[in-house]
Symmetry: C2
Subunit: 338 residues, 2 copies
């Protein structure tokens, strides 16, 4: 009983590594499921797999695309992805949507909303886990990126819905962050979370077709003006604003040229590599914070006391500092009894 | 030896409470110094003082003003503050500048850069502590706000330089967040940190005098356009853009009218109170995070191991997840030996 799990995981470890490195889609899927599992034994194994495939990661271009529902993200990614595959790229699409009640069954949902990619052998679509743990979705997405890179995908698109907590984390794990909007003077922006526009390496106005072209061109001016007075994400890049029609495959080549121009500019300046390195360390710190908080909330004494303390702080009856002192005392207590 | 400190702190506790509640400036200064002290015994006492004066807090209007050096913040606060005092307000100015190598001696520096307020009995100017601890400056500032409110100041201005980490924290502890800029199409913005513009409840273009008036009015249009397509901080408030001349005391009455209009709008909707309540709870969580991290960095085994782990993660030799596992194991180990 004590030896079996170890033997199993030893066996599994090699299977996972070989499977991922040879680009076996079934094993890649299983490895991602392992990464997404909350079970400690699975997590431990997942970390070993990630460490072993680490040398095979980092070669892909990582792109974040965010936009509120209705902006046409699925069509945009489906068409852009198909264009990239036609150029010989291998594409992985990771959908991050903490707000959605998706389950594994939603893979079908994701596949149907990206019809062209769904039937391509050079595309791999993976929906977000339904995990709600602190930094959970981001954690799993970042590690899934690594697995997909090790499996040979050279373009990774991380899709988010622009209304949750995940955009900042996603911007922290990609090389290029793209915000998709609709024309109309910002009304559609009301749904998008604050601060996201300032993360954008590029703004794409979608559905620039038919009667909408005039409004789209007007929107370009508005957003370009806004971006001009906002601090750009990089000193080596001025975020452009593009109007495209994903539905009619118009403007997507220019979109990709901008992605490549951005990569070239940041590589020349050395920022590309430096950014990835600092992203890795920042990620390590985020992960540490998340794990510390998970431990905290797993602490029964704390989770039992927290609601009342929060309520008294909320009503101005208790100094936040004292509430924190009490919580830390509870942790210390339990550590001592452990 | 064991009893003396307790007796002292008992004595001191009452002194501090009475001193602060009666608005004794010397005792207020000592209480703030206590809050700023890193010594555990001082911290414990400070938390008791804060808890005791808590019922006397919350009546002031809390305003954050940020802007890069050269924008004329000191003149703006000095003149605006003098106008408020002329209307019968009592004003506390808390300068937060983690980037500055200030010491206590800088109180003089702060007083000289706000000449009118420096000589007013209804104004209290306090520079930022030089603390660099995690969340340190924000922590001390938030608790200093409470002390100043308990001491009877009904307007609290928290000043930041717009280039550091503190703006988001400050926006989280004030009722109204104001960003001061200069005309010129955003060039001056290059120094200001990303995301700050989107925190603004109001943008103030300063130095709108002489030849600069035309450029200032042009800037109003630019920033108003930008704010119109950015998600506003509150559903009940559209951030205005004002041009003022602090030097000639022009536009500062309109500035204050906007602050009052904002308060009225948010009070009517109930957002004012709700926001303060959630700020208190958010602050409790931030404080908890900071304390957990301080504990972590105070852990010798961790602080010794951290640099190498970070370096290996940076160079892509170690999976961040494994680095975190090792750090958590080190903590667990030390807890067990404690």
């Amino acid at each position: 009983m004590a030896r079996l799990p170890i033997a199993q995981s030893r066996l599994a470890l090699d299977d996972y590594i070989r499977g991922v490195l040879t680009g076996d889609r079934a094993m890649l899927a299983r490895a991602i499921t392992l990464v997404e599992s909350a079970k400690p034994v699975h997590q431990a194994l997942a970390q070993q797999v990630l460490q072993k495939v680490l040398p095979a990661t980092g070669a892909a271009l990582r792109i974040g695309i965010t936009g509120v529902p209705g902006v046409g993200k699925s069509t945009l990614i489906d068409q852009l992805g198909s264009n990239l595959i036609a150029r010989g790229h291998k594409l992985a699409v990771l959908a991050v949507d903490p707000t959605s009640p998706r389950t594994g069954g939603s893979i079908l949902g994701d596949k149907t909303r990206m019809a062209q990619l769904a039937v391509s052998q050079d595309a791999y679509i993976r929906p977000s886990p339904t995990s709600g743990t602190l930094g959970g979705v981001a954690k799993k997405t970042r590690e899934t990126i690594a697995l997909c890179e090790a499996a040979g995908f050279d373009v990774i698109i991380v899709e988010t819905v622009g209304v949750g907590q995940s955009e900042t984390s996603v911007a922290q794990m990609v090389d290029f962050f793209c915000v998709a909007l609709l024309a109309g003077g910002g009304d559609e922006l009301q749904g998008i979370k604050k601060g996201i526009i300032e993360l954008a390496d590029m703004i794409v106005i979608n559905k620039a077709d038919g009667d909408n072209i005039v409004r789209a061109n007007h929107a370009i001016g508005q957003y370009q003006a806004a971006l001009n007075i906002l601090t750009p994400p990089s000193p080596n890049w001025r975020p452009p604003v593009l109007a495209v029609s994903a539905l009619h495959n118009q403007g997507l080549d220019q979109l990709w040229s901008q992605v490549e121009a951005h990569k070239a500019a940041l590589q020349t300046s050395g920022e590309f590599r430096a950014r990835r390195q600092s992203q890795a360390v920042t990620w390590m710190h985020e992960l540490l914070k998340a794990r510390l908080f998970e431990t905290l909330h797993a602490n029964r004494a704390v989770s039992e006391r927290l609601p009342e303390l929060e309520d008294r702080v909320r009503r101005g009856r208790l100094a936040p500092g004292l509430a924190v002192d009490e919580l830390l005392a509870l942790i210390k207590q339990q550590d001592d009894h452990a």
